[in-house]
Subunit: 207 residues, 2 copies
């Protein structure tokens, strides 16, 4: 996860798997939870430190697992961060709705991600400036995997610009909720925010 959040400082979900690498494999469900905890830890650190300064050990400590377990699941540090810097699976979930309802789905998905799953599908793009050349990879991934993927769903003129404006609107909500931590926003019901905010997103998608 990217921003401080109730789940952010809770006991690491994967702590009990520390010895997995040398034991009988945990059930698949727990392995997935551990992988998710590792990815959350890596995202958390990428919001605070330059890519080059982040060690596998730091990720392991934050996730409550051993460094060898990270290697088992992700191969090496580069592969782990390539995974964190990809928006592929996030974009699939973010855009998984019929076009007429996509604006509401995107806004709800982002808010549920931040509040329930402790993760935002797109917000990590804002930390690109920290990461030098890796930041350019993040930008390129964001463009092809999020903006252009969305643009491909749209009809009518200026689909590319309209997709970027829809994504911009969504990103702003992620920043205001997860980083600026707007007090009114965080006190509001998710469906109330969806009602107020989604029409602007939808208006770029289907003007």
């Amino acid at each position: 996860m990217i921003t401080p959040h109730p789940g952010d400082t809770a006991s690491p979900a994967g702590a009990r798997h520390e010895d997995d690498a040398t034991r009988t494999p945990a059930p698949r469900r727990d392995a997935e939870a551990t992988k998710a905890a590792i990815l959350r830890a890596a995202r958390h650190l990428l919001a605070r430190h330059a890519h080059a300064d982040i060690t596998l050990k730091a990720v392991a400590e934050r996730a409550g697992v051993s460094a060898p377990l990270i290697l088992k699941y992700f191969g090496n540090k580069d592969a782990l961060f390539a995974r964190v810097m990809s928006f592929e699976s996030d974009a699939e979930a973010l855009l998984d709705a019929p076009l007429p309802d996509l604006g509401r789905h995107m806004v709800r998905h982002l808010l549920e991600g931040q509040t329930l799953r402790g993760a935002d599908p797109v917000l990590r793009i804002v930390f690109a400036p920290l990461h030098g050349e890796q930041g350019d990879i993040l930008r390129a991934n964001f463009r092809t995997q999020v903006s252009e993927r969305l643009a491909g769903r749209l009809t009518g003129p200026d689909a590319g610009l309209r997709a970027e404006l829809a994504v911009a609107t969504l990103l702003g909500l992620g920043v205001m909720y997860g980083i600026a931590r707007g007090t009114h926003l965080r006190a509001a019901e998710i469906e109330d925010i969806v009602d107020r905010y989604a029409p602007a997103v939808q208006n770029h998608l289907t003007p």
Copy 2:
């Protein structure tokens, strides 16, 4: 400035003032340009490094001035960063329009800031996670100086929430333009973006 930008890598505007501290004072106009260059340099570094890791020397080098000149203008490092972490003067310019036209003014002001002045009035809030406790100061300033100041201008129910949603919308544009660097967005005319994007901002201000 916060994000890479044509002006970001150009020759520092204040470079010729390096010896100001020991010479006849430069004309006021040049002093203001030098101060602005120092603030831009400090903002640039705050988007990339934790507050504690940034030295006055690094700011001076990036601004093309001497460290003593920074001390002359801003007093000390804490005072310089307090200035950078304040949104007071930015909010004044950002909100300087009658309410019925405020949405268009805010969007245009942000885009002109990024394209013409190499500075965004609010985008630096996204780097709060880098700065630990200083990040909390940034959040508190953002709340009182931007969101609540705007909320005070609004009439009708839920002014606080509506102000946060308007600012969220604006922040997203800043992220998409200045950090994600959306290619379609950066190729569009400012007034075209204003026409497309400002109605959503205005709709939160005067629903």
